[in-house]
Symmetry: C2
Subunit: 538 residues, 2 copies
């Protein structure tokens, strides 16, 4: 049969975009709660109106296709609204990591060519400093959040509420011309060299938002707590997923165990995401904080594999933990450690071992594989052959902004190269061994820093740990462990080394153990580059 005359037209082909999600929820569930922030409670009709106000006000301010609107905001209603209002103008949203310094921020504002910048007054100081360095001169909109109790400084030309008040709540916003058009710009953490600007498209944002729903079996009207920063991969695309489900965004300015448990209790939070550091904080919080939470709570963890103690702690709280894995380049998580029915009968150690894996591809990502990065030959599913994790599908970035060399390298051979080294277990689950650059080569043998960390995490006195390579005249490199002890513990280096010797081959045992707080990124990732510098200086 020849159907070559059946072309796309306005009726049967419409760009995929997460913007249609908020339109539907505001139409079908206008009165349902959408945003909670302190005493502010807004429904989807109001939130949609505010997003349209923002879009029309931005357009009046000269914003349009090809422009960038940056946001230096904690998880406040303005940040939720920016995820819709900015792309409704066909412009691109660049959320900035609020823990960065002025120099890094200036680089991003310049590289991303920010035309407008939304700034929570908590960050007025660092942004003022950044703008002294930056070449661009974006229009600044101050966001005066009532829940911020620190000193106030207006650095912009107008406050957010006044800005959107001038907008049109019935504004006929713009669909993207093409689902391939950019929707967001996210800078990588830049552990080495300048950060790279990862460009997301509407198609991918739509796809990962829906995939989040599928991974979590997320029914209509979830109550989602914003423990995960929205500046991090656009909150793993959850602003759009929650809009698609007509759920509630429970905003949160900062991660604080007491506030989090209060909100879980009072708002009946059903879902939240967080790095291991956030999950540990909750697991280790005093029991008194956890009283009175009997409803079902689901949580996703990513950033590092959850140790057994975390899985056990979550079970004790009655929280259902899902382990996901991803990178900025794949819109946040793009694999899930999908649970199998028979795992529930296993003991905690075995369950932890299985759940600690990176798992399988997200429902709507086309493929994941582990390959030799040179030959692109996939590794056998034997749990021991190591290769690099590769992704392919519609949950992969457009590429790096103004960086064709890095883009080409990332997509070499028709796959996105994650930089993470892994094996595939016989059941098809991917298990990370290490970042390419985190492998320690000692006497010609590869040592996975994660393997050593896992053993140290099993010691009851260890709160957090990171193992890096330390240059060694004889062995080339040796493992050096930085350890954060639990409160009240005075465990010694000798005892931890004895513990490692009991569980590891001799060449993998750390030669050096350093105690102290670990340097972490805004999202709770331990900054190994900083530890490598410390190890070199020892």
């Amino acid at each position: 049969m020849d159907d070559s005359d059946l072309a796309k037209n306005a009726a049967n082909f419409v760009p995929f975009t997460p913007l249609t999600f908020i339109e539907r929820s505001a139409t079908v569930y206008p009165e349902r709660l959408a945003v909670v922030h302190g005493t502010v409670r807004r429904n989807w009709r109001e939130t949609y109106d505010r997003c349209r106000r923002l879009a029309s006000a931005l357009i009046a301010a000269g914003v349009g296709k090809g422009d960038t609107v940056a946001a230096m905001l904690p998880n406040t209603p303005a940040m939720v609204e920016a995820h819709f209002g900015v792309p409704m103008t066909r412009a691109v949203l660049n959320t900035l990591n609020t823990r960065l310094d002025a120099e890094a921020l200036a680089f991003m504002l310049d590289h991303g060519e920010a035309k407008v910048l939304l700034v929570d007054r908590e960050f007025a100081g660092v942004i003022k400093a950044a703008l002294v360095i930056a070449k661009v001169t974006p229009q600044i909109i101050d966001v005066d959040d009532a829940l911020y109790e620190g000193a106030t400084e207006a650095i912009g030309s107008i406050e957010y509420e006044a800005f959107i008040a001038a907008g049109d709540p019935a504004f006929a916003w713009h669909m993207p011309d093409d689902e391939w058009d950019a929707i967001c710009l996210n800078y990588t953490s830049g552990t080495t060299g300048n950060p790279k600007g990862v460009v997301y498209h509407h198609r991918g944002a739509h796809t990962n938002a829906v995939s989040n729903i599928l991974e979590w079996d997320m029914a209509l009207h979830p109550v989602y707590l914003w423990t995960l920063p929205m500046f991090h991969c656009n909150g793993w695309c959850f602003p759009w997923a929650i809009a698609a489900r007509a759920g509630v965004n429970v905003c949160l300015r900062k991660v604080d165990a007491a506030i989090i448990f209060d909100l879980i209790r009072s708002e009946r939070v059903t879902h939240y995401c967080g790095a291991p550091i956030v999950q540990s904080l909750l697991v280790n919080a005093p029991d008194a904080m956890k009283v009175g939470i009997a409803h079902a709570v689901k949580t996703m963890v990513a950033g590092a594999a959850p140790p057994a103690s975390m899985i056990e702690g979550m079970e004790a709280m009655g929280f259902d933990l899902t382990h996901v894995y991803g990178l900025t380049e794949v819109y946040g998580p793009a694999t899930v450690c999908a649970k199998q029915a028979d795992w529930s009968t296993l003991d905690i150690g075995e369950r932890a071992r299985l759940n600690a894996r990176q798992g399988v591809r997200y429902h709507l990502e086309a493929a994941i594989d582990v390959c030799d990065p040179a030959s692109m030959v996939p590794v056998p599913h034997d749990g021991t052959s190591m290769g690099e994790i590769m992704f392919r599908g519609n949950i992969c970035m457009k590429g790096y902004l103004k960086n064709p060399t890095a883009t080409d390298a990332a997509f070499a051979g028709g796959w996105f190269h994650s930089g993470d080294l892994a094996v595939i277990d016989p059941d098809g689950y991917v298990r990370i061994k290490d970042r390419s650059k985190d492998i320690i080569i000692s006497g010609g043998e590869n040592i996975s820093s994660i393997e050593v960390e896992d053993v140290l995490y099993r010691h009851p006195a260890v709160l957090a740990v990171a193992v890096v390579a330390k240059t060694d005249a004889k062995w080339g490199e040796t493992p050096c462990a930085f350890v954060e002890r639990k409160a009240g513990s005075d465990v010694t280096a000798d005892e931890l080394i004895r513990h490692c010797k009991a569980h590891l081959a001799g060449f993998k045992v750390p030669r050096t153990i350093v105690f102290g707080e670990l340097p972490k990124t805004a999202t709770g990732k331990i900054q190994k580059f900083e530890l490598r510098a410390r190890a070199a200086a020892l």
Copy 2:
């Protein structure tokens, strides 16, 4: 910012297709049950292997892109497999309505240019007759289903099991070259003139399958009973939705209340779909059949609005009923009567009135509106202004095969014209008044046949009813009602007319009432064209 250098490549752009769903479920949940049919129980690994065998055997038989594989099959495992195995060759699946006559089937085989035809032996006779008329000479593959107990006749060159046994279970199947490529061909019921061949693409099949999951909050591993024919809009895209959820396809050769309740009980069926006639059959089945079903069952109904008695009956059984609406051209259902939390507090009459509406767009359809078909001006949301239902989005067909005139008319003005007349209520829900061609014009006044039917359905003696126009010398047309009475009832025409007069304006009251069984299509739709002919002959 200028990101125009960031082009699509093999890593970041992969065609959307429901074929990736089965690959994922077979990889992640290989041992989970996929297909149940009598004593046959196959998991997803086995089912995926069989689909790949089918694909490779079809390719060996010369099938490839541009070819059509037709299927004359009840809801058996072979029909599930055809939904994957055929498009894995890049060919198009044309499922045939098994209740059609030889002439109609011959038309479809010729028009669709069938190259291979899968035939369940129950339909060997009618297919043999069709092939005498048809110009095409497809290769026939007989499907010998052990559950068919009638007479057997082999009309093909090979039996299905032998055919796929020669295929390769590890066959590297073909992704579509483009997500816009055709995946299926479905003929409309053709109530007037020749049936039209509706072409589906991979993008739309993927999108509606995922949307089905969202409409139903369908969690992983549903147990889906095949009460809805898979030949009807590819079972509303549920073969692909169930694969995406790694669910169970409980096959069913024919709709029989005792068998259905047995399967719901023994397989713990969680979901099924059906036309009103199927739902009525279950509601009105003897209580003894329903004993022992305590688990949650969700059902979708489409084809006509569910009357109050059906909603009440479903509630009595404890089944959760969702009303959806669509057409072949929009992949089956593309609107849903989304329930609102506060409806549950209303009385049954009001709940039935609200649930009987066609509702709002499917999550992943871009738009629905009700417009004047000439001016394309949308009607106000006042519950009274009538217009034609229009769809726009990625759940709309490519077009009609080899019928540019009909395709252009269907897509006029950038919307798909449904042919259904409706109003929009103040809450934004669409409510059908009638098919364009079902409106009765009496003395210059429009009468909605649905309105008259609704009144008749409220009479306790009425099992089924259809109202059509009867030519009248004085009024032009008058309403003529065909009524199927409940078993044991001897209600008279006079009594029904009195009932109508109590609830309808005088000009809307049927002038003629005819008792008897109503002619229905394979999917339980009442055949009004047949009744119009009967009315004309009265």
